[in-house]
């Protein structure tokens, strides 16, 4: 055993094993920190700082900075199916409508649903930027430079619900238009968030 250890190949093997062990150890620490640091329930600033400074620069490009937060559902409205609807703002052209994912299914439809959900509830970026980009992307398809982008959510019916009210409901709407080369996004406030108009002197009910 001693003779084997002193042979050049054994020394080389030990050196390689040591190097691989260090690499594995570093990666496993990075894996632990990325899982902790990407948790939606929050993690300490220290974990996020270490992960961000030491591990993100080489794990992010490889798409390995992942939290694996695959909760499947929490039964909240945000977990429902989302869809995208884009139509010209001009009411005379209202028959030209892009409904996505439309009739197709599978993973292709799932990607469109993720895009719609990202516009509705955000994520790692600004939903307004995404909505504006999606609206602009629809200009050539719809043949106009003024469109209305809507995200529709199909409600999740309660188990004890007697009637299945499965009609999709609007959760995001914005007008996207190009004016003098400038892209403009005009978000529509949901009716419930708009205060009623109060005129002085009028009796309030």
């Amino acid at each position: 055993m001693a003779a084997q250890r002193s042979s050049p190949s054994a020394v080389q093997t030990d050196a390689v094993r040591a190097a691989v062990t260090v690499a594995l150890g570093v990666y496993l620490v990075g894996l632990l920190l990325t899982v902790l640091g990407n948790s939606s329930s929050g993690s300490s600033a220290l974990v996020r700082t270490i992960k961000g400074r030491l591990f993100a620069p080489w794990l992010v490009p490889a798409w390995l900075d992942l939290g694996f937060e695959q909760h499947l559902t929490h039964g909240v409205p945000e977990d429902a199916d989302h869809a995208l609807e884009i139509r010209p703002t001009d009411p005379m052209r209202s028959e030209a409508v892009l409904r996505l994912p439309g009739a197709f299914g599978g993973e292709r439809a799932a990607r469109w649903r993720r895009l719609a959900r990202a516009i509705a509830i955000g994520g790692s970026g600004d939903p307004a930027v995404l909505a504006a980009a999606v609206g602009r992307g629809a200009f050539p398809v719809l043949g106009t430079q003024d469109v209305r982008v809507r995200v529709l959510r199909r409600p999740l019916p309660e188990r004890r619900a007697t009637a299945d009210d499965g009609d999709p409901r609007q959760v995001y709407a914005a007008r996207v238009r190009l004016v003098d080369g400038e892209l403009q996004l005009l978000p529509s406030e949901p009716r419930g968030e708009v205060a009623p108009l109060v005129r002085p002197g009028e009796a309030t009910p």
Binding site: T21, S40, G67, E69, V76, R108, R114, S124, A133, P157
Partner: protein, 299 residues
Amino acid sequence: MNGLDARAKPANFANRWLAFWFTPTDPRPLAVVRILAAAIGLLLLWSYAADMQTWFGPDGMIDPATAAAWRSPFGFSIYDFASSAAAVRLVFAVTVVVFLLLLVGWCTPVVSLAAPVLWATLLHRGPMLAGAADDCLAVLLWCLAIGRSGRGLSVDHLLAVRNGRATSPPSVRCRIAEGLLQVHAAVIAAAATVAQLKGDVWWNGTAAWWLAVRQDSRLVDLTGPFGASEYLMNLVTHAIPLFEILFAIGIWPAATRTAVARAGLVAWPLIGLLAGAPLWGLTLATLGLPAALRTPPTP
């Protein structure tokens, strides 16, 4: 604890570490993982194919600036430099060819490294489009890049046989790749369990119902059985995190590893089917495949 025990424990850990990561193993289980990963990758690429120009084309919905705003500053995509429709098509076609070569095992050392690079670059081009299956496939592909998955069930192997230099000796690199697959399988199962148990629906037994009522994305309609039997709904709901906990823990002891991994070959695709994410389920089953293919220890 006496001094002898204190010295023995680190040595025991070191021996276990060396045995786990550096025991040469047969490359064929990793070759099966390679074939499945490439097949899943091609299916996921197929889901991009029809909308490639709509999303990433010159007048697409997700321009490079929007993608950059949604990803980490360290993110990078080759597609950002593809400024014409032809260039986008070319990069995507190269990705498809690489996955096809990975599937058949031709030029495996090169394509097993190119596949995760091209996959990551595609996901970075539209991070808001990526899902759980995409994440898990990235992990699978990087593990394959480490191991010698082309040394079995591949065109490379057939060519080597024809040239009379075919050998498929057990390989340490295959063992490291298998070990990483096992670590990730356990980590993903544990992280999924923790994420699920943050929601009340996984405690009160109704999560299966909320999965079943997503009528656009579901693959099977189980609202009838779940509506009729609360016990069935509760059973399915609680079975999912219970299985995930058993998987995350049971994949480590030699006595339970094979059985748990084999159960995962059935359970993960079923969970994926219920969640409307069959490719995610298949990817997780593939992560545990090398452990499932091992011969269980004799008592």
